[in-house]
């Protein structure tokens, strides 16, 4: 009831300042609808990440700062995010004590299974994700406000605020990506508005919160160097110093205390655990999937031909967290090789940004940089595809091709996260979330491009809408999506029917490989766009 009153009051207030407030009203409405769905998701399945984050709350609030990164009271849940995220967790723990959540075990150091979390703990953590999503809302509104036409704005808002992948990862699986991606979008919106300094601060805050975003740092560096530090030598070096000082201040604030306590070595070893394998237990759909598969095939073929191949038994299928991987035939991959490959693949956008630092291409470049990191990076998680699908949503209405690309990419990206939720209870939920999003994209894009982009003569020649709808995703896209459906049907129905419970990794492998095909295509498409259009 209070909700109802609040909502109507809020909307009434917003209605008064229409025009300016219209974007805000629409965004708040969409966010609120999503928030209801998120609230209903509170009792759903949560992964061990739930327990990890709960433990971090306990750790940061009950252990002194100098021992944050060296504490091993729970080996499963050691702190491996940069310090600003740890401070953020400390802040989140503050209201818990005043709310009297101590008896519920929210701040106990000893680990407990996430499925048996008591209701207050569950509510507190889930609600903290929903509330911190407000950062994402703020950033989305800022970005959408810049892209003026109303139709375009509402589509972008829908794409951002109702992203199924974000719902799955944050509100079912449990992480704080909405908050972190919100900071990324904030920095992008600052860059679009020409507020480079603010963008630099936002981005360094982001890196100090989650270092996976470091992949875009070269691009930020090049762009800010060329765009912000321009002008005469004096002016340029002055600006360079200002930017350096501000970014440095953020880093000092984050890492300084640990430096002071002599913990910096420990912090870095936690942040960059290169002891882990090239791929996660479930392969993220990137370039390395093909590398592994080719290696396996070669090993099989060569050993059939009589060569003596030392076969590393099921090394990639048995869950590899903890040890490095060995290839039977192909050369070994080291972290350095992946690092060089990421930089090389990223170089086109770096060169472009160096030659012509224009704010209007920036989101495309940033998304491309994250795509490169995802394609060639070391120990990439499937969740990292959010880092480029979310920024790409902002520019998805720029052209019909962009819309088409985003349509396919977002489906592939969300589908590749399906294995995160493996319980039957969540199965219909994830399928419905993705289907609804696909329908919303379909309706939004087709209504938008029919009205605005398709020229008048085209309408005369081609009055029936069905022709245009057929060509919206193209022949390739249709076949690819049907294949995706086939992979899913295989994994859910045919595989258990044919193989029973043997070969449990096969459906997962097929999802990885199939999604990797889509991801590689998306990467190549983005590269071509950057070479041609920017």
């Amino acid at each position: 009831m209070a909700w109802l009153g609040f909502a109507s009051l809020l909307l009434r207030c917003l209605e008064e300042q229409q025009g300016r407030g219209a974007a805000m009203e629409e965004a708040v409405w969409m966010w609120a609808v999503a928030a209801c769905v998120k609230a209903l998701l509170i009792p759903s399945y949560r992964s061990t990440d739930f327990e990890v984050h709960r433990h971090w709350l306990a750790l940061t609030s009950s252990v002194p700062l100098r021992r944050w990164y060296s504490d091993t009271s729970a080996p499963c849940c050691t702190l491996d995010y940069p310090p600003l995220f740890a401070y953020f967790q400390r802040l989140l723990a503050l209201p818990a004590t005043s709310l009297g959540l101590h008896p519920s075990g929210l701040l106990h150091l000893s680990p407990s299974p996430p499925s048996s979390a008591p209701l207050p703990v569950l509510l507190y953590l889930r609600l903290s994700v929903i509330v911190t999503d407000l950062v994402f809302l703020l950033a989305a509104v800022r970005l959408a406000r810049r892209r003026l036409p109303i139709a375009r704005r509402s589509i972008v808002l829908v794409l951002l605020l109702w992203s199924p992948a974000l719902l799955i990862v944050d509100h079912i699986h449990f992480q704080y990506n909405g908050y972190l991606l919100g900071i990324l979008l904030l920095s992008l919106s600052f860059l679009e508005e020409g507020k480079d300094l603010a963008a630099g601060i936002a981005f360094s805050v982001l890196i100090c919160s989650k270092h996976l975003f470091l992949i875009a740092a070269p691009l930020y560096f090049v762009y800010l160097l060329r765009h912000y530090c321009r002008g005469s030598l004096w002016k340029a070096s002055g600006r360079f110093l200002i930017m350096g000082g501000v970014v440095g201040a953020v880093f000092v604030a984050a890492f300084g205390p640990f430096f002071y306590y002599g913990q910096i070595q420990q912090v870095l070893s936690r942040l960059f655990p290169f002891g882990r394998g090239l791929c996660h237990a479930y392969w993220a759909p990137n370039f390395w999937v093909f590398y592994i598969v080719i290696d396996k095939l070669l090993a099989v073929v060569l050993s059939k031909l009589g060569f003596d191949i030392p076969s590393p038994e099921a090394s990639f299928t048995g869950g590899l967290v903890g040890n490095s991987s060995h290839f039977a035939v192909l050369p070994q991959v080291t972290p350095l090789i992946t690092f060089v490959m990421v930089l090389l693949s990223m170089s086109p956008c770096l060169i472009k940004a160096f030659q012509k630092p224009q704010a209007k291409h920036l989101i495309r470049w940033v998304a491309y940089a994250f795509t490169c990191g995802f394609m060639f990076g070391w120990h990439v998680h499937e969740k990292a595809s959010l880092h480029f699908t979310i920024p790409l949503a902002v520019i998805s209405v720029d052209s019909l091709n962009d819309a088409r690309h985003y349509f396919l990419l977002s489906i592939v990206s969300c589908y590749s996260m399906f294995p995160l939720l493996f319980e039957p209870q969540e199965y219909p939920i994830k399928v419905l979330l993705l289907t609804l999003y696909a329908i919303a994209m379909w309706i939004g894009f087709s209504s938008y491009f029919k009205l605005v982009v398709v020229p008048a003569e085209d309408k005369v020649h081609n009055p029936s809408t069905s022709d245009r709808e057929e060509t919206f995703i193209g022949k390739f896209g249709t076949i690819y999506l049907l294949g995706l459906l086939g992979v899913e049907l295989w994994g859910q129905l045919l595989h258990p029917y044919i193989f029973g419970s043997s070969l449990p990794f096969l459906p997962l492998m097929m999802i990885s490989i199939y999604c990797a095909i889509g991801m590689v295509c998306s990467w190549a498409w983005q590269l071509r766009q950057i070479l041609q259009r920017t």
């Binding site: 009153g5 209903l40 329908i439 309706i443």
Partner: protein, 559 residues
């Protein structure tokens, strides 16, 4: 005081805005159209939007079903979930003839089957499905109180699938018929996706079916299908569907006066009314014979069912169909129970604080009084439909007759509010403000039940979601809020504050020891007062329709 915008006024206003819209040809205008049509394309129900709304409604049901069910983990009797599971167990393992009979395997005092045979058949069908995967959850007698994560999921999915198979198609059928037949008058600026969302996202129905655990979606869906069939002039289909609805839950009889009067009124306007009436009567008898077939060969077994399922109510339907009057209506309610159960926002419960009905009258007198009161309450709308049957009038009459049963009949549950809510949601484009208000009050009247089931989180979310869709930007195009009179706004605000206060009081305060159910009683009397105002208004509205149509006729004749 509640008068919505006058139909004629609305017409001119819509024309005015259309003219204004056609006057501008700026790009912004094109964009505006795109923005509003993006989510809520108006009037025409495009397949893609219908599917989107339906899938969203399904998603919400799925999410609510993650929550606890009634009687979860409370041994000895559990709750409605256990009742449904027990019926599956009984129908699966005992012969049809023994379903309603007290036998060694079927102890009727433990959740005996007390709905008509169609519910039993539905339980059997679902039992087959669940038995294929989790047979131990339906084992005879040993499975009493069986609870597991897997069986909960299976049970939840049976409700979801019935909802998807019955209520969803019926709602889409209704909305398309509503707009095709132009039932609500001038359709300019009405959004059909919004209308569909109002019917499908009814928070009370979602909470009861997918939270508390019941199968109301089947009987309500069949009724909705029957209503849509009547609107599209398919009376035989309508009779079949409505008879099925009655045979699933006898509570569907709350609508019987409306169906009966509307069909009778229509038949009277045809060439040979007696033939038409007989035709429909035969259909009804045929359907009943079909559903009751296993019990029909011996009077003995019918009488057995009679004890537990009030066959009298069906008898009443026959008799009323033959317009023999309401001689048996006083037998409508089960005999052995009191005039109301728990706390219900109806007349008897609300006034029992002042007048102790249960002490003053014996059960049989009380039943008689209830029947008379109910008949008196639905009589005006009944007469109106016989006098001048119309599509819109039929919807109002459904609302009025079901409300009269809810408010005055004998033995009413708090869940029975779902019955008046269905026609109210069908009138959402006619009475938008009042519909929102009614949902609000009905939810409040169910709040104690929701608290018992530990569904408060789901309650809050579904209510907020409903409010958001209700006030969706571009949603209904008609700015009710600014056009409504200050009087109405003041009244609604007072009501809103009252209900908010009642929620808070119920949640936060301990009731005084002398009156442990004081807050429940307060909530119920508040809701009752709102319901009475609402139904008085809708009765007046229904009669005003008659005036309008006769006025139009006269104008036509004159010209």
């Amino acid at each position: 005081m509640f008068d919505d915008i006058h139909p004629m006024a609305r017409k001119t206003e819509a024309r005015g805005s259309a003219a204004a819209a056609s006057g501008r040809h700026t790009p912004a205008d094109v964009d505006g159209v795109a923005a509003s049509s993006f989510l809520w394309s108006t009037t025409v129900l495009a397949p893609s939007t219908a599917v989107a709304v339906a899938l969203f409604a399904l998603l919400i049901r799925l999410l609510v079903s993650l929550g606890p069910y009634s009687g979860q983990g409370t041994p000895s009797m559990y709750g409605d979930y256990e009742a449904q599971r027990h019926w599956m167990e009984i129908t699966l393992h005992t012969p049809t003839a023994e379903w309603y009979r007290n036998t060694a395997a079927n102890n009727l005092s433990y959740w005996g089957l007390d709905y008509p045979p169609l519910t039993a058949y539905q339980s059997l069908a679902h039992a087959f499905l669940i038995n294929a995967s989790i047979p131990e959850s339906l084992a005879l007698s040993s499975s009493r109180g069986f609870e597991s994560h897997k069986s909960k999921l299976a049970m939840r999915w049976t409700v979801l699938s019935s909802d998807l198979l019955v209520l969803f198609p019926a709602a889409i059928y209704f909305v398309s018929v509503y707009f095709r037949r132009n039932v609500g008058g001038d359709a300019k600026g009405r959004s059909s996706p919004w209308f569909l969302a109002m019917i499908l996202l009814n928070p009370c129905l979602i909470l009861i079916d997918h939270g508390h655990f019941q199968y109301n979606c089947i009987s309500l869906g069949l009724t909705l299908g029957a209503i849509a069939a009547i609107l599209s002039q398919k009376e035989i289909t309508a009779s079949i569907l409505f008879c099925l609805a009655i045979n699933h839950k006898q509570m569907s009889l709350y609508y019987a006066p409306a169906f009966f009067s509307h069909l009778l009124g229509k038949c009277f306007r045809r060439k040979n009314p007696i033939f038409e009436v007989l035709k429909l009567g035969l259909v009804v008898i045929g359907i009943f014979a079909l559903v009751w077939w296993p019990y029909i060969h011996s009077v003995q077994s019918v009488m057995e069912v009679n004890i537990h399922v009030d066959i009298v109510s069906i008898e009443k339907h026959f008799t009323s169909l033959l317009s023999l009057g309401f001689l048996v209506i006083h037998r409508l309610a089960p005999f052995e129970r009191g005039v109301f159960e728990d706390y219900v926002a109806n007349f008897w419960c609300s006034t029992s604080m002042l007048i102790k009905w249960k002490r003053i009258f014996t059960i049989s007198t009380m039943r008689f009084i209830c029947s008379i009161a109910t008949i008196l309450a639905f009589f005006p709308s009944f007469v109106q439909q016989i006098k001048s049957p119309s599509d819109l009038g039929f919807l109002y009459s459904l609302l009025n007759s079901s409300f009269s049963f809810y408010l005055f009949s004998y033995q009413v549950h708090e869940k029975s509010i779902l019955l008046p809510l269905l026609p109210a949601s069908l009138l959402a484009l006619q009475e938008p403000t009042l519909f929102g208000w009614l949902i609000n009050c009905s939810l409040l009247s169910m709040y104690p039940l929701v608290c018992r089931d530990k569904l408060s989180l789901q309650y809050g979310s579904v209510l907020a979601l409903f409010a958001l869709i209700f006030y969706a930007p571009h949603g209904k195009q008609h700015g009710r809020v600014d056009k409504s009179s200050t009087k109405r706004v003041a009244l609604l605000t007072v009501g809103l504050i009252c209900s908010a206060v009642l929620h808070l009081v119920y949640l936060g305060l301990e009731p005084p020891k002398r009156y442990p159910f004081l807050f429940e009683a307060l909530i119920m009397s508040f809701c009752f007062s709102q319901f009475v105002i609402y139904t008085v208004y809708t009765n007046i509205k229904q009669w005003m329709l008659l005036d309008h149509s006769s006025l139009k006729m006269r104008v036509k004749k004159d010209s």
